[in-house]
Symmetry: C2
Subunit: 593 residues, 2 copies
Amino acid sequence: MVFSAPVKDMVFNIEHLSGWAELCHLPQFQDVELETAGAIIEECARFAEEVLAPLNASGDRAASHFNGESVVLPEGFKEAYEQFVDTGWQSLQHPVEFGGQGLPRAVGAACGEIFNAANMSFALCPLLTDGAIDALLTAGSDEQKQTYLHNLVAGRWTGTMNLTEPQAGSDLSLLRTRAEPRGDGSYAISGTKIFITYGDHEQAENIVHLVLARIPGAPAGVKGISLFLVPKYFVNADGSLGGRNAVRTVSIEHKLGIRASPTAVLEYEGATGYLIGEENRGLDIMFIMMNSARFAVGIQGIAVAERAYQQALGYARERVQSRPVDGSSNESVAIIRHPDVRRLLTRMRAVTEGCRALAAATAGWHDLARHADDPDRRAEAKAVAEFLVPLVKGYSTEMSVDVASCGIQVHGGMGFIEETGAAQHYRDARILPIYEGTTAIQANDLVGRKTLRDGGRTAYRIAEMIAGTEAELNASDSVPARVVARKLARAREAFLAVVDFVVLETPRDPQTVFAGSVPYLMLAGNLMAGWQLARSLIVAEAELARGVEPEFMAAKIATARFYADHILNEAEVLRERIVEGGESMLGAAAAAL
Amino acid sequence: MVFSAPVKDMVFNIEHLSGWAELCHLPQFQDVELETAGAIIEECARFAEEVLAPLNASGDRAASHFNGESVVLPEGFKEAYEQFVDTGWQSLQHPVEFGGQGLPRAVGAACGEIFNAANMSFALCPLLTDGAIDALLTAGSDEQKQTYLHNLVAGRWTGTMNLTEPQAGSDLSLLRTRAEPRGDGSYAISGTKIFITYGDHEQAENIVHLVLARIPGAPAGVKGISLFLVPKYFVNADGSLGGRNAVRTVSIEHKLGIRASPTAVLEYEGATGYLIGEENRGLDIMFIMMNSARFAVGIQGIAVAERAYQQALGYARERVQSRPVDGSSNESVAIIRHPDVRRLLTRMRAVTEGCRALAAATAGWHDLARHADDPDRRAEAKAVAEFLVPLVKGYSTEMSVDVASCGIQVHGGMGFIEETGAAQHYRDARILPIYEGTTAIQANDLVGRKTLRDGGRTAYRIAEMIAGTEAELNASDSVPARVVARKLARAREAFLAVVDFVVLETPRDPQTVFAGSVPYLMLAGNLMAGWQLARSLIVAEAELARGVEPEFMAAKIATARFYADHILNEAEVLRERIVEGGESMLGAAAAAL
């Protein structure tokens, strides 16, 4: 099944949902033309379609493995990565100062989706490198930046994040890895880290491990964790590579999905590490970069959903089976003509487009937060962007599992046969609601840091903006706009009821509120995606009236309406579960578990 | 992870939900005591836990394969199957006349669930044999019954169903396999059949293939399909086995799940087959046995959900991570204490118990349909049982995918590692909404044969019975009973609105109705499962008042209430999608696909 990147939808989103009109006037982006962005995305699509997509299924079959000495990636990965580096794709959204292209995040998000849709296992490596770059930009010393950033931004070196240990997953307070000061400014790092994505491989010259560890005498719990940079190969003063550091690959995991991506167990045996930022502030730095990494994982969800959708759509157009239910033909027809196949495909498409729209909007708020002139505007944008990140991560990834599952269903029995390809998406997608913080962790973040900390102010502010979109919709005389406005208002009211509940009830009864935290996240994510599709509908109606891309715009309007009628209406059930269901949930758990 | 069959829940369901009070007075079952049934289920649990469950993960890892000559099952399967035959488990619900034990279907269903929960790949073989037995009982000649049934009922021979061909999946009208009369009463069968579960293996002495094929000159389409019995080895007049028939194994599929179960491509090369029933009536016979087979696949859904639940529950009790959100401890606690883990586990449990309760009730109606004295009672029971079968199949299997996915989520990153075991359930479950008719095929059956054919009469009749349960609940003065009554009433009204819609709109606009057919199935399945849990609550309150099994009864009450608060309330969204959403669904499909 050939993959074709949804470039048109991406460019539409960048122009109309990510605040381009405001962004393009900022000093940071004044040299970036929309046409240039479109051309970059086109080029990215060509590279991903031609070079990365063909390695997706073969990479899954071969899987990465450890031969006792080194980690062996599937055939073709090293060569593809070399091309990726040569064409400069790692550098897209990074600062010009370190060799980056300084493009808006919305462009980076589009390209990230394309790489991941083409080959999620491949794209994980650059994703982790982005995380390491963000960490160094945030907290690295000048020397560290000069030593590492150019090669990371170029993609010649890759990055990893080393958080998890066997006993410490979501709970980093249980971390045991030790960092003993050596007296020369470096530390000796010792401990076992697991689930290290691209923790070892030979496709880059060096690997820059970012490692959380404890310095002796540090406070207990998360306030005693520091962040260290541990290179696989030492870097000499002249920038050349020296000997190997004392970090050893123990094994590569045998996983349900993303099997081409090597997930390593690493043993640090007194490896030399360099402190990033201040002692005991490791988690703060991690949290800053985590917003980016979580956003990127949300993008992976959209990517795998898009790929699963294209796979299912292609099959449904080809496969001939059964006559139409309305008796319109006596011959068997392509299954895409059967109502339930249409239902499945339309759902897959609407969810995917909704999540993509939400991610594009979030990327825009993020850029505004970093680059707007007005500090108040920056502060507002930061609050909105940070509110949206757990939704992009949690909602997009939970939905990607659903979409990939629908994709198998469209194929019938063929979907269950591995050679067909649909099953891989179902397996690959399943990690997404787990890594970089499970959906429950995202939901805790949404409740705690993003809703309670400012007394719901950002949530209410966003609800106001949604009400503004409703007013715009109601100003239209089209039926779809009116329908969408009505459904959007109902979902917004459900959201507000839940925000009130969270703000008022948490001090009194946190257990009940947190019992509804994931439903709250799903409600909020659903609403925000539906909101962005509603904004898209307004644009599409205007563009359609001007005769621009009539097919694309008509599809956008129809998809937005479908989303409102079929997906947004879940908000009310979620509200009921959260606000009225806590007692029965906790009661059932207490009695039955 | 040790598997422990939910025997107590099963016996509760048989006694209180499957109409035992009525069934046990029928001549067919007058010798069956509830204690005996319980003892059989206990014994079944012991066998499955000790012999079958330990082979589940190893069977998945090894998978079945074809070595060019014969099909090799994973280690231990043949020996386990021999024990299965020796202890007589195949014969449970089959007629005494052919060596069976003639037990009620509700007992057979319980044992079927246990076998499948222990090892779904293993249990598929007996499931298919049950299907072949049903077909022969329904339409076989006396000679065929005498020749084949004793060995099938004993499990010494196994059965298969050969429907699918590369071009003919859900659409059997496209079938091409030919059956040429030989003049001696037999036929020469030629053609390729795919997706044949246990289509070849060496664990039984013989395999009895049931094959759909066309006789030359037969009418086109499904009215020209006949059913044939094609033994792997010929059976001599004295009952001994003769030479091998001309059916050849081409390959064994490489599947997402149920990897230990060999799914064969079979080539019939002029194989000798014997007509079952009349020419061109093959599909009618298949449809009779399909109700049983579909019910059995629904049971598989419940089974894999139960296994996934136990796996997740066990992990959640052991894994220590993070402090409680309510600040009740400064130490990290077992994750089962975290609200979202409780939410996931409670949801898994409630859905599983709800589906199990629905299956038990359906089994009871089925037995009544076959064995009640009064023909009117038989007719009513038959209509109700047949209405419920697509719900047991469709709802239980769709929900099993959701439950298995939640099971991975409870494990966090460990769930994605194959060795943990949670991933296997997620892979295994995914076939269930597909084989024996996809959920869409079940939904077509629900709309067409089960709702429209009698003008909604059975649906309305069931809704009346549900209203009766509501009245019983309202007669109670307990809060859970009142809450459940209210939620049940709301879901029943949503169901009635949809039934009205289906009955009135199908003649006018079938496309729109069928666009909502799967949501209708999910609504109906959800309601019926919730209804059975509501009935369970009434019993449990009475039992609790008498001091019987207080922990079990309290858990049952709490689970029923959770289901009503958290799952039943989806009915209203589904109603809205079906009744109000058809236009936007078809519109979106037309514009966007």
